[in-house]
């Protein structure tokens, strides 16, 4: 991976990159050159900035913190192994979210005991700081009633602030479909949040 946020040098032919990798591998020294050490630093800085938002996305969309841990690691591994030519941090982030989205999709596609729409409920139980309790009381139950695809689109649009075009790049859906899907999902979640707030107000008055 080239340093993030800097103009990248042109990629060498695959055979040359392979030669370098093999010679390093045979020497038992995978990453010992000064160039790769610099890349390692650049990656560490990028990781510091991007890992928490990515984990939040994975955890809230999948509803499973342990799964989010695994998918986060696998996303970065694939990101590093891909050697893709990315122009700047924004593109790198989008690429990372795309990898994570595809991993989540693959995870849901695999046949298992739970279906795609079943989400562990313990995640939404209220424990922790007051801010956490407040958001989970409002958004947690609402998210629980949304489909994974809706949660995904809502998170990318309103938590990450991505445009329709960017969401299309991340999810692989058509930009026109995203507009409609997001419109419906937002109306649904807004209604759920409002209903929840109304119920809480009524509960307090009683």
């Amino acid at each position: 991976m080239a340093p993030i946020g800097k103009k990248q040098r042109p990629m060498r032919p695959d055979s040359m990159r392979l030669d370098a990798t093999i010679s390093n591998a045979l020497a038992g020294d995978a990453v010992a050159t000064p160039a790769t050490a610099m890349q390692n630093d650049a990656f560490a800085a990028f990781y510091e900035r991007s890992a928490r938002p990515l984990w939040a996305y994975l955890a809230r969309v999948s509803g499973d913190a342990a799964l989010a841990d695994d998918l986060l690691q696998e996303s970065y591994m694939r990101f590093l192994c891909a050697d893709a030519e990315l122009d700047g941090e924004v593109a790198s982030r989008k690429y990372l979210f795309r990898i994570a989205t595809n991993l989540m999709k693959d995870y849901w596609r695999k046949p298992r005991a739970t279906s795609m729409d079943e989400v562990p409920e313990e995640h939404f139980s209220a424990h922790g700081t007051s801010a956490q309790v407040e958001t989970e009381m409002m958004l947690g139950p609402a998210l629980k009633q949304m489909r994974p695809r809706e949660r995904q689109l809502l998170w990318l649009a309103y938590a990450e602030g991505y445009s329709h075009r960017e969401i299309a790049e991340v999810t692989g859906l058509a930009s026109a479909s995203i507009r409609l899907l997001l419109f419906r999902a937002r109306r649904k979640v807004a209604r759920l949040i409002t209903d929840r707030a109304t119920d809480q107000t009524a509960g307090r008055m009683q």
């Binding site: 392979l18 990798t21 093999i22 390093n24 591998a25 995978a30 990453v31 790769t36 390692n40 990656f43 560490a44 990781y47 510091e48 890992a51 928490r52 938002p53 984990w55 939040a56 955890a59 809230r60 913190a65 989010a68 841990d69 986060l72 690691q73 970065y76 591994m77 590093l80 192994c81 922790g128 700081t129 801010a131 956490q132 407040e134 958001t135 989970e136 409002m138 958004l139 609402a142 809502l154 998170w155 309103y158 938590a159 990450e160 602030g161 507009r179 409609l180 419109f183 419906r184 937002r186 109306r187 979640v189 807004a190 949040i193 409002t194």
Partner: protein, 169 residues
């Protein structure tokens, strides 16, 4: 379903994205908010998701980037070695196939010239007194040396399979 976009929605979304709502909103936009259900939805949803993002980000338990980096390098290295080994495996398969064809050709040629060439091979077990090494129960079997040969072949092949499996892992 008809999607009706409010003309103020873009401005409200931009302010929310920057975290400047309602502080930097104009009086007109704020007044509009009271009348527009779409903008109210946008505000409540965006604020809820932003709060959720902040809370979830704190909960993340992250691994060291250095560890991830090294693991990625190892994965790359293994992939590169696998790519290098691919022609070698193909050459091995080709060599085995060629050997089998050659052996079959030899057998075919020998069978044409009669079974006389097999006699020294058939007499080899009795010349070496292999039956003396076998347990008593096997002494009455028609070809005890064949059993021994099969066991030896299975042991060698088993060893090769175990080695291959451990290498693959």
């Amino acid at each position: 379903m008809t999607i009706r976009n409010c003309i103020h929605e873009k401005d409200v979304a931009e302010l929310l994205k920057r975290g400047q709502w309602p502080a930097l909103a104009s009086a007109e936009t704020r007044a509009h908010m009271a009348e527009c259900a779409s903008c109210r939805d946008l505000t409540s949803v965006t604020q809820a998701f932003q709060r959720e993002r902040a809370v979830a980000s704190v909960q993340a338990r992250l691994e060291s980037p250095g560890v991830l980096w090294w693991r990625a390098q190892l994965r790359k290295r293994n992939a590169a070695l696998k790519q290098v080994n691919r022609p070698l495996v193909a050459a091995q398969v080709f060599a085995v196939a060629l050997g089998l064809v050659a052996a079959m050709a030899c057998v075919a040629m020998a069978s044409r010239s009669g079974a006389g060439w097999l006699r020294p091979v058939a007499e080899l077990p009795s010349a070496l007194h292999i039956s003396a090494m076998l347990p008593e129960a096997w002494q009455n079997t028609p070809a005890p040396w064949l059993v021994l040969l099969t066991i030896a072949a299975l042991t060698v092949m088993g060893g090769v399979f175990v080695y291959k499996a451990s290498e693959e892992r």
